[in-house]
């Protein structure tokens, strides 16, 4: 009798673990689809003054992405390409393609609270972390991601608060190794696009400093359209800059 209970118990645990994996996978898919096109408005607020940028982003899978800045005019035409874990940037004003060296990967992307590395390592949530469900409140599941052994990620843990009706998170918190909060993402205004759900308002903020945050609003989003492979080549940097 006790053996059966044990087996059932283990089975349930497995299920729970499996469920966490499932949730994460679905969450990831929502952000990615097979490929995804987004038109974004980014607002960067620091020390009382604001800056706005608009951009178009094309990504395929987890390893390829192309971004073009369309506003403000002085930055219009700047393009970024990331393939696997390398990143390049084209600056029309100086007509140069620059490869971003590893040292700059951890710098803030365009002055926001998101690092270059963030832009490129979007995939690692599934690969590098082990998910566990730690709370359930109605349809919202809180999942704690702990880095897998030897995963090369700097976060001590990440908690995601996922609404299982849409498989989108409404708040992600990033912790350092000692369990202190370093930054958090807030997601709002979930929209359904085709078979996918995606929050159209994102905000990322450092937990240490007040009055400093970056907001992103999705003006347009399309999934699984035909995105030409040409976007993910180095020649795209210059070509699609216009």
């Amino acid at each position: 009798m006790s053996k059966i209970i044990l087996i059932v118990f283990i089975f349930m645990l497995d299920l729970a673990a499996d469920e966490a994996h499932e949730i994460i996978k679905k969450l990831d898919e929502n952000f990615r689809g097979k490929n995804i096109y987004m038109k974004l408005n980014m607002k960067i607020v620091s020390m009382g003054h604001e800056r706005v940028m608009k951009m178009q982003s094309y990504s395929q899978g987890t390893k390829k992405s192309f971004v073009k800045i369309i506003y403000p005019p002085k930055d219009e035409g700047i393009t970024f390409l990331s393939l696997d874990r390398e990143m390049w940037q084209y600056v029309p004003k100086i007509e140069r393609i620059i490869k971003i060296p590893p040292s700059m990967m951890l710098q803030k992307w365009m002055g926001s609270d998101i690092t270059n590395d963030d832009m490129v390592k979007q995939s690692s949530i599934v690969e590098d972390y082990e998910p566990k469900i730690i709370k359930r409140e109605g349809s919202v599941v809180t999942i704690e991601l702990t880095p897998k052994e030897n995963a090369p990620v700097v976060w001590g843990k990440i908690t995601l608060n996922i609404d299982t009706t849409t498989y989108t998170s409404h708040k992600d918190i990033f912790y350092d190794e000692e369990g202190k909060e370093v930054r958090y993402f807030i997601y709002k205004d979930v929209k359904k696009v085709g078979n996918y759900y995606i929050p159209t308002y994102w905000r990322v903020q450092s937990s240490d400093t007040e009055g400093r945050y970056t907001e992103m609003i999705l003006e347009e989003v399309e999934y699984d359209t035909k995105i030409s492979e040409e976007y993910f080549t180095k020649s795209a940097l210059k070509r699609f800059s216009k």
Partner: protein, 406 residues
């Protein structure tokens, strides 16, 4: 007593000459050694300072620890208006420093790129004098970049070449431009020459949206020794708890400490010399006195008190010391003065010690009357101490015994 002392000196020529010579030598040694030590320390400091660091620098609090656009000085004019009122400030200039990527074809390097006011820098720092190729910046330099020799090498650039700059402006937005290499500098400090470059503010401010902003304000004082005093003046005048004003002592703390250590060791070595010389002077004094026991015995018998004996010894050594130091001090002082104005130049010393931050081939002496004063004071003190033991020796004899002494 005095006359007796004088006669004794002339009579016992051997001892007198030896003591006088020793005192002379020790005075010279002391003064010159300290002068050389202080002089070379000051010179090291000034030279390293002169390269780039100011005698005083004004920052927004936390800029030095955390850095970044949030801690820039936002209203430079408000501060500089106040600085105009302080007389002891010879020159000042707000600098805008940023870190970015410089790139030439496939070579890129991270570098500090600083917006400077060329005309002020000519007076404030040795950036212009470090020029080795091309020309320094001026107000009309536009997109000219003044680059360190090692950085130039790293990027495989030459005069007239273009180099791409990518960084972020004072509001965090993207900034990129093409600069032209107009001048190259070599200060001798490898770190500085391999990671810094300069652009005129008249151009850079546009690009970086940095008008009336600064990373810090650097100051040159009329007299670097007044740094602490003037700094207090500045702090009270600024009256802003968000600003901090620091002297070079804080800015170059590690160098200052190394020099303190060096000075400590210098004093230890010097005290070794002084100890040896002290002993020898004492020995000569003692030998002289011990051969005059009979004489002292007689003097005591005819009524001279112990105090008088002491005075006698005292006058003897005083006369000798004063004579020797009166000779030595002016000579030593003059040497200090001369080499202070015309430092000794050892070619190549700068190259050898450039890793220590030594950038000049000159070794100046320090000319400081106060230092010389206390140096001489110490010599006197040692000389006077040297008569104590001989005096005690004399008193260990009873007068009658003494007269029979062989």
């Amino acid at each position: 007593m005095f006359k007796l002392a004088f006669k004794n000196i002339l009579f016992y020529k051997g001892r007198s000459i030896a003591t006088a010579v020793l005192t002379f030598v020790s005075t010279m040694l002391f003064i010159l050694y300290i002068s050389l030590q202080d002089g070379s320390h000051n010179s090291m400091l000034e030279n390293s300072l002169k390269i780039y660091t100011g005698a005083i620098e004004i920052y927004r609090k936390d800029y030095r620890d955390i850095g970044g656009n949030e801690y820039l000085i936002q209203d430079v004019k408000a501060i500089t208006d106040k600085l105009e009122k302080i007389d002891a400030i010879e020159e000042y200039s707000p600098r805008y420093e940023t870190y970015g990527l410089l790139s030439n074809k496939e070579y890129s390097a991270a570098s500090m790129v600083a917006g400077i006011e060329p005309n002020k820098e000519k007076l404030l720092s040795s950036l212009e004098s470090a020029l080795i190729e091309g020309s320094f910046l001026d107000e009309g330099s536009a997109n000219c970049i003044y680059i360190g020799a090692e950085l130039l090498k790293k990027l495989k650039l030459g005069i007239g070449d273009e180099v791409a700059f990518i960084g972020s402006a004072s509001d965090g937005s993207f900034a990129a431009d093409m600069f032209k290499v107009c001048g190259v500098f070599k200060t001798g400090s490898f770190e500085f020459d391999s990671s810094t470059s300069f652009v005129a503010r008249s151009y850079f401010d546009e690009l970086m949206n940095a008008k009336n902003r600064a990373s810090y304000i650097t100051l040159k004082l009329k007299n670097i020794e007044d740094a602490d005093k003037v700094n207090e003046q500045i702090i009270s005048m600024l009256d802003d708890e968000n600003l901090e004003s620091l002297t070079w002592k804080t800015l170059m703390k590690s160098m200052v400490e190394i020099m303190e250590i060096d000075a400590v060791f210098g004093y230890i070595s010097l005290s070794l010399f002084m100890v040896v010389i002290f002993f020898v002077i004492m020995i000569y004094g003692f030998v002289n006195v011990s051969s005059r026991i009979k004489e002292f015995g007689v003097l005591r018998c005819i009524g001279l008190s112990k105090r008088n004996i002491f005075l006698l010894l005292f006058y003897e050594i005083a006369l000798l010391s004063i004579f020797a130091t009166l000779l030595a001090t002016p000579i030593a002082a003059y040497i200090c003065y001369y080499y202070n104005i015309n430092p000794i130049v050892i070619d190549g010393i700068a190259d050898m010690y450039k890793d220590y931050g030594i950038v000049s081939d000159e070794i100046p002496f320090d000319y400081n009357l106060f230092t010389i004063g206390w140096n001489v004071g110490v010599i006197y003190l040692l000389n006077f101490l040297s008569i104590l033991y001989p005096y005690m020796y004399i008193n260990s004899f009873r007068p009658i015994e003494a007269t029979r002494h062989v």
